[in-house]
């Protein structure tokens, strides 16, 4: 076992795969660990094949690993599709009718169906696995049980019994597979908390005074809607779920006009319907934030999987020519920051701001410092608010003069187009700079945006040959970025799409000629092992 440990649970939907996985993550947080989690699930409610995996360490974790140290198959038949993730140190718990023979990894029969008979229900197999995991990972069972009790009010008794059954089974059968982690720090008041990107987005919205959110459900963005809907009373905000995405976007446009700090959230298909409002906000100068959490397209695509296929769509969204801002967080922490920042930028410049994320960051959890009480200084829009006497004006979707009245004469049209575009240099001065990791002495440069940066940083741990440039403000592009392209010819672009949209974007602005492009477009995120392999770095972590 290395510095990082990866635990994975797999089984049919409806067996509490994610619930028990997140409980394990919370127990790990209480032991002073840092972590990233990742779930895979098909677009159905019962059955199928769901997984939850978590990679943890006593140091910062940037990405889940593909190779698994401990694996649980919660029902028969759910480990077979993961054989490539197992190695010589992997321990696989399975519940098959016949014993599994393998010379490659350690397989341990965990008779979950039989063990569940003592509880009188098959619904607690996940918590039995949790008991086994806590023994194997040498986690304090009392801390674990406290967290379990807190989680299950109605089924506390059954879950605690299931945990004990699992823990007891492991005491008897798994002492050889016990992983000794030396650096646990028991901390009863955990400093770090588990947030997925959608929750981090919601906390950022609240931190910067967001008070009106309207959205139509769409995976993988719905988490932000659910999170904020729960906060309506405690944080005095309005959350609405109207008849479609067009209405959601139009509604926040109206609320923005009335002085609210607004956002809407969706994925690619919903954003396609909202693009008319992007354009409207661009000409009517309405401060609106669009939280775009991508999944693979085209069309309905792969609803519960991940992709970065909407970069150019976001940058070019909205008909006509006008400035927009597109921010791309690469982590849950950055999602929080950019969520808050996007409200302020929208208010400062009175224009649409898109925060583009994806399922990888949006639905994966990360251990980060408590976000719940944070406040970010608010920039307030200079637009007059209805109710204020003598400041009446028209917000107009037509080309208009400074008072908002429609115009068609050549001179005013030209003036207004130029007035809008003149904002771009001012915008550029305020946007987050690219993150540069590594030293200027590095011989090779990796250029990326958004979620892959986690797997890249994880893959390059201990490497000094490489530097990484993570472009965070993807539109408008900072002209100074070109200085990073000057110091080496060995440039590799890495992104989670099929056509390298970042390369196209950079080529449109700079003399940019990457020597290598690494792409992934199968609905799955990058894992550090894959990046090391593709870069030709020795496989060892």
């Amino acid at each position: 076992m290395g510095k990082y440990t990866t635990v994975k649970i797999a089984g049919p939907a409806g067996f509490g795969i994610k619930t028990s996985g997140q409980l394990l993550s919370e127990i790990l947080l209480a032991h002073g660990q840092q972590l990233i989690d990742y779930s895979e699930y098909p677009s159905l409610v019962r059955g199928g094949h769901n997984t939850y995996q978590v990679t943890f360490s006593s140091r910062q974790v940037f990405s889940v690993f593909q190779q698994v140290d401990i694996f649980f198959s919660i029902s028969p038949g759910h480990y077979q599709s993961h054989l490539s993730e197992f190695n010589s140190s992997s321990v696989i718990f399975y519940d098959e009718d016949k014993p599994v023979k393998s010379s490659k990894s350690t397989y341990i029969s965990l008779p979950l169906r039989k063990l569940s008979e003592a509880i009188g229900s098959q619904n607690f197999r996940n918590t039995i696995c949790l008991g086994v995991a806590c023994f194997c990972l040498n986690l304090d069972p009392e801390i674990a049980k406290k967290i379990i009790s807190h989680k299950f009010a109605l089924t506390e008794k059954e879950n605690l019994a299931a945990f004990d059954i699992g823990y007891g089974f492991a005491q008897q059968n798994c002492s050889n597979s016990r992983l000794i982690h030396e650096s646990y720090i028991i901390n009863h008041k955990s400093v770090l908390k588990l947030y997925d990107g959608n929750e981090a987005y919601g906390w950022g919205f609240l931190a910067a005074g967001g008070n009106f959110f309207a959205a139509y459900p769409m995976t993988p963005a719905s988490g932000a809607l659910h999170f904020l809907a729960q906060k309506q009373q405690s944080h005095h905000i309005q959350v609405h779920h109207p008849e479609d995405e067009i209405a959601a976007a139009s509604m926040v446009a109206g609320a923005a006009f009335a002085g609210a700090r607004v956002a809407t959230g969706t994925s690619g298909g919903g954003f396609a319907l909202m693009t008319e409002t992007v354009s409207f906000a661009g000409v009517a100068n309405l401060p609106i934030v669009f939280y775009l959490v991508s999944r693979p397209g085209p069309a309905t695509g792969l609803p519960t999987w991940t992709a970065q296929g909407d970069l150019l769509f976001a940058v070019n969204s909205g008909h006509g020519e006008f400035p927009i801002i597109v921010l791309a967080p690469g982590s849950q922490q950055e999602t929080f920051e950019f969520s808050a920042l996007s409200l302020n930028l929208a208010a400062k410049f009175n224009l649409p701001v898109i925060v583009i994320s994806d399922k990888t960051v949006g639905e994966s959890g990360a251990s980060i410092a408590d976000l719940s009480g944070k406040k970010v200084k608010q920039i307030i829009s200079s637009k007059p608010i209805p109710g204020t006497p003598s400041h009446e004006y028209l917000a107009n979707s037509y080309e208009h003069d400074d008072q908002g009245y429609s115009i068609e004469d050549s001179a005013t049209v030209k003036k207004m187009v130029e007035k809008r575009l003149a904002l771009i240099p001012k915008i550029l001065k305020t946007l987050p700079k690219a993150n540069f990791y590594g030293t200027p002495d590095a011989k090779k440069l990796i250029v990326t945006w958004g979620s892959p940066v986690g797997a890249i940083l994880q893959a390059l741990e201990g490497q000094t040959d490489y530097a990484v440039l993570q472009i965070r403000s993807v539109w408008p592009i900072d002209p100074d970025i070109k200085k990073f392209f000057a110091f080496t010819k060995d440039i590799t672009v890495i992104e989670n799409n099929a056509t390298s949209q970042l390369t196209s974007l950079l080529k449109s602005q700079f003399d940019f000629n990457p020597s290598k492009i690494i792409l992934k477009y199968d609905g799955r995120p990058f894992f550090p092992e894959e990046i090391r392999q593709q870069l030709g770095i020795n496989h060892k972590s």
Binding site: Q238, I246, A247, G254, F257, G259, A260, P386, S397, G404
Partner: protein, 205 residues
Amino acid sequence: MNLKSNVIPTWCPGCNDYLLMSGIDQALSQLDIKKENIVLVFDIGCIGNMADFFSTYGIHTLHGRCLPTALGVKLHNPKLTVIAIGGDGGIYGEGLNHLIATARGNYDIKVLVANNQLYSLTTGQTSPTTPKGSKTKSTPLGSVSVPVDAVALVKTANADVMAKSIDGRQPKEIIDSIKEAVSTPGFALLDFRQVCVTFGKQLNS
């Protein structure tokens, strides 16, 4: 109280839209609502061009979207008097689902529809309220569908809301209906029956 702007209306001579504009102006003036608390939210079309002729807070939205936009204004600040103004194309066609959703919620939005049974700003194509069989620029062989009965449709969506059809050529009816709608809490649809003086002749009669 002066609610008008200095922009000269651009409608055709004899257009019923002048009467609707005058009705809105007089109704709001008579109700003595503070100018700064009025928000007029316009759809696209001939009637939407009224946006330029008022000097209150206003939004000239996208085609079909005046209702959800108006709703966003009202939800954020319920003290405002929010009136959505559009035509049969925007409210009964492009934005029909928004009309049903807004009526279902009985939100305090007043919806004024200049229903001239045609798309007129785009020079006379069939609209959701064009009589069946009408030959228009987009239906030279005659329109296929029966027209939308907006009042019945809204009443079906929510029997509790106000929905009325009014003769759009009758100044007093226009003023009285707007005054009644604005002073009654909740959703209201006022469907003003109009005739397009330029393109209306082609309709089946």
